[in-house]
């Protein structure tokens, strides 16, 4: 295969290829920017990143000590979003918890999607017994409840933030891998792939230049859901001792604590983290939509 001259490497075609790539990127950016919701989504994510990381510099609160003389206070001039059950300022807590949710959500979601995409594309493209073995691994993984694996891990170790990202990434890549495999199966028999193979294109090229770009919409949507799931999963695993431990917190944890006070009328413990999660999850979904349009090769002349 390597002896065959590939179209992109033919002498004299370098410059047009580069400019084609550049114009491709410009086209993608233009398409993304044309997608109003995606731009708003991006704005929301940027806002929350600033809110969580730069916010504490402006609005500084004590999130490590409990202040039992000021618990469950309603929003007021001193505490814009009130206080929680142990006296933490809720607005400050939202910034404090958001850091964890954003970092872990993004990192774990992306990690899960990357693993799932590579695995699914490889399995679907290879076909035959390799596909069978790889997908049985996925089936087996789905058959074992994630809870079970998490329980075992929690008995062995207490991970730090990086460890948490790895663990969440490794338990949630299964579903994206199935999605991408299905997409690959339909794509690999398309004429342009067969043509590429006939003129000597490598498998790697077929996967990276044709199959993955064509399944980008599936991947982008899967990724945004993975990010959303990871934000919620951080809250769940706290129960097993895997999540963040006090005094640290995360939005999911704040929400589940707030829900216990639902009937007591402490809305300020529920609405802010709930809205933050909904907004961020929606924003990532909108960005995913925009990315799909931006990278969609199918619409290109």
């Amino acid at each position: 295969m390597s002896t065959v001259i590939q179209p992109g490497r033919t002498p004299g075609t370098t410059t047009p290829a580069k400019s084609a790539a550049a114009s491709g990127t410009r086209l993608a950016v233009r398409r993304f920017l044309r997608h109003r919701l995606a731009v708003v989504g991006l704005g929301v994510v940027v806002f929350f990143v600033l809110f969580c990381f730069a916010g504490p510099l402006v609005y500084s609160t004590d999130q490590t000590h409990t202040l039992l003389h000021q618990v469950n206070l309603a929003p007021s001039g001193t505490h814009w979003l009130g206080t929680d059950a142990v006296g933490h300022d809720e607005l400050g807590r939202l910034m404090y918890g958001g850091k964890v949710s954003l970092i872990v959500g993004l990192a774990a979601g992306v990690l899960a999607t990357v693993i799932g995409t590579l695995w699914g594309a490889a399995a679907g493209y290879a076909g035959g017994w390799i596909d069978a073995v790889m997908m049985r691994v996925v089936d087996a993984g789905i058959a074992i409840p994630a809870l079970f694996i998490l329980l075992v891990v929690s008995a062995i170790t207490t991970p730090d933030l990086g460890g948490l990202v790895l663990i969440l990434g490794f338990v949630s890549w299964l579903v994206p891998s199935r999605l991408v495999r299905a997409e690959t199966l339909t794509l690999k028999n398309r004429d342009y792939i067969l043509t590429l193979r006939a003129i000597g294109g490598t498998h790697a090229r077929a996967i990276t230049r044709h199959i993955l770009p064509n399944s980008v919409s599936t991947i982008a949507v899967a990724a945004t859901f993975q990010i959303a799931d990871a934000i919620l999963l951080v809250a769940y695993v706290s129960y097993l001792g895997l999540g963040v431990q006090p005094p640290a917190t995360d939005w999911g944890g704040m929400l589940s604590v707030g829900l216990t006070a639902a009937y007591s009328g402490y809305w300020w413990l529920i609405l802010p983290p709930g809205l933050a999660i909904i907004l961020v999850v929606w924003a990532f979904n909108a960005i995913g939509d925009g990315l799909r349009d931006a990278f969609d090769v199918r619409g290109r002349g």
Partner: protein, 603 residues
């Protein structure tokens, strides 16, 4: 140990997702399907603790089925010989619900002669000494299967049983015992069983005196134990029709719903007032709360965090009544932990830790007033003659400043917010034996997850420890996982990694009527998780079971309030009950049992 009740597992509910949602719906259905709340009728609906389904009625409990709710149901069917409980408002012998009418201890306190009342089984046969002997023989021969057995205690210390006549019998002990302890903690476990119906080895087998030989008693036990495992046959098996208590079984579903109906042949003093009792299971506390709101439960419960909704329940015709348990709550230290064990062994270090615990504020704010500060080994929720002055007055009042000083006076210096041992050695002003130079005062707690109140308490503790200069790391895990990871261990074992452990969301330890601490704080005690050992304390504990006065208990109470074998914490109420107005005639038993026969509609 009796861990009777775990609180709402909020996060668990999230984790279990669909499964729990479905379960909650089912539970909601089971609550809703039953007749609506009764008020002044012949029916009452009682909510069992969330996540518990009754699964045992045989009067001899086995470890796998040990639960106070199981024994409450069982005691409604087969009355105890001596009902020593808090059903009358104060812990004591409730003779109305007992088969025995009197117990006379010999002058040397080495034996007791018990008199049975003139009582009959539901099939008309009289209840005699032979029925007590039947229970005695079965338990003697199969003691290792009996959940209430601990070596050296009953039935090991009951040397012999001798029937004097049909209504009198004598039990001889291996030595002299404190009479109250013997009555409250040991004799109260005896549950006469219908020998004339149960002393056989198969459903169709004939009844004989098989139990009188150990081999025969083993066979009978095997048969009864096997029959008791068939939950679906509880309501139909003729075996369970011969009862002595105020109720009989009407139905018993494997899903957990139990229906009791009054025993028409009952001839004791604790007759049922309400004919039909429905005991309803719930998968989550939230499902139960919804049933309360819907009015399908007459006697239920809410979480301490829901107390702010008291008015809304009162408007629906309920009364909110905290149910205090005869229990204590604490954080055991692992004295054998290779890293922190040597620090925990220093009394001044334990004092500094205890001084950093603000029990009063925790009880008031975090527990919403549903917990009682407890400064020693005797429950302080109820008045009792066992609590010492010292324990009541709290020898170590909250003061992080004093706690800091205590540490700095003993060779610790604060570095970066955490105390570090800078003067090792065992002399005055030094850190103490075994504590190395550079040791950080940093400890880790393995805490029960699923309860917001517990999480909040841990956060508050972390905060006040930080003020003293003590690092406090919190790791949470489900309660069973916490218990399995905090067992007794040797320093060299990998299982000795735990430093502090908390499993007391609903109280760490529920005592029998006489709150002696033999298994908790005596050297080698079965539930002495942290391997606490002090010969002087061992001596005091031994005296509590053998001496004849309460003074021994008070000395023990004072000693442990001072020596701090564990971190004493506020004792939460067993349950915040929500009871339909008009339901009365009973006191909530601090031993965590319920007594349906005492319930009555007063209007």
């Amino acid at each position: 140990m009796s861990l009777v009740h775990t609180a709402a597992a909020r996060r668990w509910a999230l984790v279990a997702g669909a499964a729990v949602t479905t379960g909650a719906l089912l539970a909601g259905c089971s609550g809703g399907a039953s007749s609506s709340a009764s008020g002044a009728s012949d029916t009452i609906n009682y909510a069992l603790p969330a996540n518990f389904t009754p699964n045992w009625i045989l009067p001899i409990g086995t470890a796998a089925h040990l639960n106070t709710n199981n024994s409450s149901i069982s005691q409604s069917l087969w009355e105890p010989l001596i009902a020593y409980d808090g059903s009358a408002g104060k812990v004591g012998w409730n003779k109305d619900n007992s088969l025995a009418t009197a117990a006379h201890f010999a002058d040397d306190s080495k034996s007791v002669t018990i008199t049975l009342g003139d009582r009959h089984w539901s099939d008309g046969k009289p209840i005699t000494s032979r029925d007590v002997e039947f229970w005695f023989n079965l338990v003697k021969a199969n003691k290792s299967d009996w959940a209430s057995y601990s070596p050296g205690k009953a039935p090991d210390n009951w040397a012999s049983f001798k029937a004097v006549d049909d209504t009198h019998f004598t039990i001889t002990f291996d030595r002299a015992y404190n009479q109250q302890w013997m009555l409250a903690n040991e004799l109260s476990m005896i549950r006469p069983m219908p020998q004339h119906a149960w002393d056989k080895t198969s459903d169709s087998g004939s009844v004989s005196g098989l139990d009188r030989t150990p081999a025969g008693a083993k066979k009978v036990w095997k048969y009864l134990n096997g029959a008791a495992k068939k939950i679906s046959r509880y309501a139909t098996d003729p075996l369970w029709k011969t009862v002595s208590g105020p109720y009989t079984l009407k139905s018993f579903s494997t899903a957990g719903k139990v229906q009791l109906t009054a025993n028409a042949k009952y001839d004791g003093g604790g007759k049922a007032h309400i004919k039909n009792v429905n005991l309803l299971p719930f998968t989550t506390a939230d499902a139960e709360k919804n049933a309360l709101r819907a009015g399908t439960v007459d006697y239920g419960y809410i979480n301490a965090t829901d107390l702010s909704q008291k008015a809304s329940f009162e408007a629906k015709g309920y009364e909110v009544q905290p149910w205090q348990g005869w229990a204590i709550t604490y954080l055991p230290y692992n004295f054998n932990n290779p890293k922190m064990g040597p620090v925990f062994k220093q009394l001044y270090a334990r004092q500094a830790i205890q001084m950093s615990v603000d029990q009063k504020t925790l009880s008031k704010v975090v527990f919403n007033g549903t917990a009682v500060p407890t400064y020693g080994p005797i429950p302080q929720g109820q008045k009792s003659s066992f609590v010492s002055r010292k324990q009541q007055d709290n020898p170590y009042p909250f003061s992080t400043a004093k706690a800091r000083k205590l540490l700095t006076d003993h060779g610790w210096t604060e570095k970066g917010g955490t105390m570090v041992c800078t003067k090792p050695g065992s002399g005055e002003g030094h850190c103490g034996k075994g504590v190395d130079k550079g040791t950080k005062f940093s400890m880790r707690v393995l805490s029960q997850s699923g309860s917001t109140v517990t999480d909040n308490m841990m956060s508050a503790l972390q905060s006040s420890f930080a003020k003293t200069g003590i690092d406090f790391h919190i790791k949470t895990a489900p309660v069973n996982s916490v218990l399995s990871q905090s067992g007794q261990c040797k320093p060299s074992e990998p299982s000795c990694k735990w430093q502090l452990s908390f499993f007391g969301t609903a109280g760490s330890w529920y005592f029998p009527a006489y709150p002696s601490g033999d298994s908790l704080f005596a050297t080698g005690g079965g539930s002495n998780f942290g391997s606490y050992s002090d010969p002087a304390v061992d001596k005091l504990i031994a005296q509590t079971t053998t001496s004849s006065s309460d003074e021994a208990m008070r000395k023990y109470s004072a000693a442990l309030a001072e020596k701090l074998p564990v971190v004493w914490l506020p004792e939460p109420d067993y349950q915040v009950s929500v009871v339909k107005k008009g339901l009365g005639g009973f006191a909530q038993d601090s031993l965590a049992n319920f007594h349906p026969a005492m319930w009555k509609w007063t209007k």
